[in-house]
Symmetry: C2
Subunit: 426 residues, 2 copies
């Protein structure tokens, strides 16, 4: 296999003719595929349907009849215990919410903006508020900070986490910087895992802004693809050790554990932050859906059962990830026109094309009936500086659809790369 860069014009021209023919053939099939969003597929949601059975009219509510009424603002005690065990903390640090951790994050940003944290100045009264955004990252995070007019600063994300030298320099000197978006375990979309060293350095930050917060989105904390896995160091206890407990809001949810949309979300933070949050929440709601919290607790009963459940999820997801990676290997290895991640968990594979090719590849896929996450989505303001990062979401299509889509994708990568190399020869 010859690398494309080593080809001369004639070889590239001939290759282009061949690839174009293949592309037009696929295009004529009129595919309708989607690898855009990190949604569980039908089989994954089916896996959890029994959760709907357990809290029914024959359930022995006893004292828990109060769960059918208003109140219990921070969640039912069983749920606080359960999520505390997952997040390796204690129930008094927990608040259990409704169905969406994204909504908790939005609310936390919104509260920083309207009221400020722990008595600090509301951000809407400040000239300038900035957030750090390790990239590539999660588009919905960046959409929230953009929505509130917060300036976003790109931070390079490496194999072991974001660039901590850069973060320390920025955070410890600029009091306009109020937070950072982090997905520590199986980062969205690159799938990397923060090293212990990175977590420790986060916990030791001495931010210029008293209201600086780590938005620690542990969305994939139990979403391992393989039995053997590395668990990210516990940020809450590290922060506590460093007398820095208030700098972290940690989020998680069961959206990709049980049923997305009908799951339970949770937040873990310091006692001072929790008190502050509850004082605002008491104005905002009377309590979240406690029966859905109870449903989850009764369904899993113990965290060990959740682990078993996640092994079943992994068994459904793993073949899809491996199918994509196999096709990448088979089709692209040695061509020098792209690199890709081999994640051990989470929901995404990141593909890095030659510079200035991502948009064109995605457009070419779309023309042939396959939707990918928009170019630039993993970057603040949707702007990928190198136009090279593509997020692949293997979960939602069927295995057959996924293979078709991935074949098409690799073909588009080749075609666009050839065109790029040819254009550079002009």
């Amino acid at each position: 296999m010859k690398a494309y860069q080593d080809m001369n014009r004639e070889e590239l021209m001939s290759l282009h003719t061949d690839l174009s023919k293949q592309y037009n053939n696929i295009k004529s099939l009129g595919l309708n595929l989607n690898m855009a969003r990190g949604k569980p597929d039908f089989a994954q949601t089916e896996l959890s349907l029994a959760i709907l059975d357990i809290v029914n009219s024959h359930y022995d509510f006893g004292e828990k009849m109060e769960y059918c009424n208003y109140g219990i603002l921070d969640g039912i005690p069983e749920a606080k215990e359960f999520f505390a065990e997952i997040l390796e903390t204690t129930p008094e640090h927990m608040i259990i919410y409704g169905n969406s951790s994204l909504t908790i994050m939005f609310d936390q940003i919104s509260r920083g903006y309207t009221h400020g944290y722990l008595g600090n100045t509301p951000w809407c009264q400040l000239e300038k508020v900035k957030f750090l955004c390790p990239v590539p990252g999660y588009d919905r995070h960046f959409a929230i900070t953009e929505h509130f007019g917060i300036e976003m600063i790109n931070i390079p994300l490496y194999e072991d986490g974001p660039d901590m030298d850069m973060i320390e320099k920025l955070v410890n000197n600029d009091e306009c910087i109020k937070g950072i978006w982090c997905v520590p375990q199986y980062s969205n979309p690159s799938g990397i895992i923060y090293s212990d060293e990175v977590v420790k350095r986060f916990s030791q930050l001495q931010p210029a802004a008293k209201d600086f917060r780590l938005f620690w989105d542990n969305a994939y904390i139990v979403h391992h693809l393989y039995d053997e896995h590395k668990q990210v160091l516990n940020i809450l206890s590290e922060c506590e050790k460093n007398d820095n407990a208030d700098i972290v809001f940690e989020f998680c949810s069961t959206s990709k554990i049980t049923l997305p949309g009908a799951g339970v979300a949770a937040l873990a933070t310091s006692l001072a932050n929790k008190k502050d949050i509850l004082s605002h929440m008491s104005i905002q709601c009377i309590g979240h859906d406690k029966l859905n919290q109870l449903r989850h607790i009764e369904y899993f009963n113990k965290v060990e059962n959740l682990d078993i459940h996640m092994q079943k999820q992994a068994a459904l997801l793993r073949p899809k990830f491996e199918a994509v990676l196999d096709i990448f290997n088979k089709e692209l290895n040695g061509l020098g026109i792209g690199q890709w991640t081999k994640p051990l968990g989470g929901y995404f594979i990141t593909f890095e094309s030659l510079h200035n090719c991502a948009k064109d590849i995605i457009e070419k896929c779309k023309e042939a009936g396959t939707i990918l996450t928009s170019a630039g989505a993993p970057f603040p303001y949707g702007k990928d500086p190198l136009d090279s990062t593509i997020r692949i979401a293997p979960s939602y299509p069927t295995l057959e659809e996924l293979k078709q889509a991935t074949e098409l994708f690799t073909l588009c990568v080749k075609l666009v790369s050839v065109e790029k190399l040819l254009s550079q020869m002009n």
Copy 2:
């Protein structure tokens, strides 16, 4: 029965001795009763437990399997249809949310504050923002506007609705006034019903502020105590008739229909407002709990079944309201020391004591082990200018507890009134 005002000092003194003895007797019982919050009781929540059975793992999801996944931001079509029928509008005007209409209202205020409605200036950038508050009203409404530093202006609430002359004069001339809190059907706490005339005048407002909104909390729209009832005129269609569709946000929820905390909330508004709201919501969440929406639709199937269900609720509530009113009649009629509402629906009875007595009555009840809604709660900033309004919530205690609590209450009314009259003789 002699009115207290017609008694001379000796009569009042003797009465006081007698009432004090009765009070001390009750106090020694060590009661632990609560008439503070409008919570359904055990029997009411039990009435709806079968809602938990219908969407289970044997449910034939078919095409609705998507309801188990992310998405469908404005709610499932069946729910939009169902709530549209209740609110006498069409599904395209509806957004179906999670479990709490209070949270929708909070979000709407918060969005006015952070982003503004339909391109208007966000309130956080304005010197002064004001809201009109018909009084007595709902403490949680006022808590939201207070939370955002919005100045609240009391508006008298009469038998047929708020003082429309005053509202028109204020709203049509002061562009700082951005909204009004309304509970049109069985107002919380006075239980009054807005007349057709009042609704029409609301729909014809010509606010100085382009972003003025009616926060139309139709919390008790189907919560009638008696089969015969008057229904408040449809605000949305009245506003549409007057080319004024954008001035209303109408809210409702099933919290006091099925299970509080595990219900479904909804908003109806103009198409322009809906589009504006969804553009913000798309940043805030991926979708609400669609399975709980489905649960509600499957449980009721038709609005007629909901009406039958509400008749069962009424059968549980009516004896409680009537027990309170009977005791008020028996104990207080003709004494000239209080007036009370005889609501035809909703969750509250309002008691009006002599001026400057409400706080003392509530305190006396508390000392004898019975909690009432805090004095002043039905007013902005918790300040009842006459210190005379007391909200009675008959729903939560058992009938026996309620009778005990009401007996104690009437005794405290007598005792405090005698003391007040005596103090005025000094």
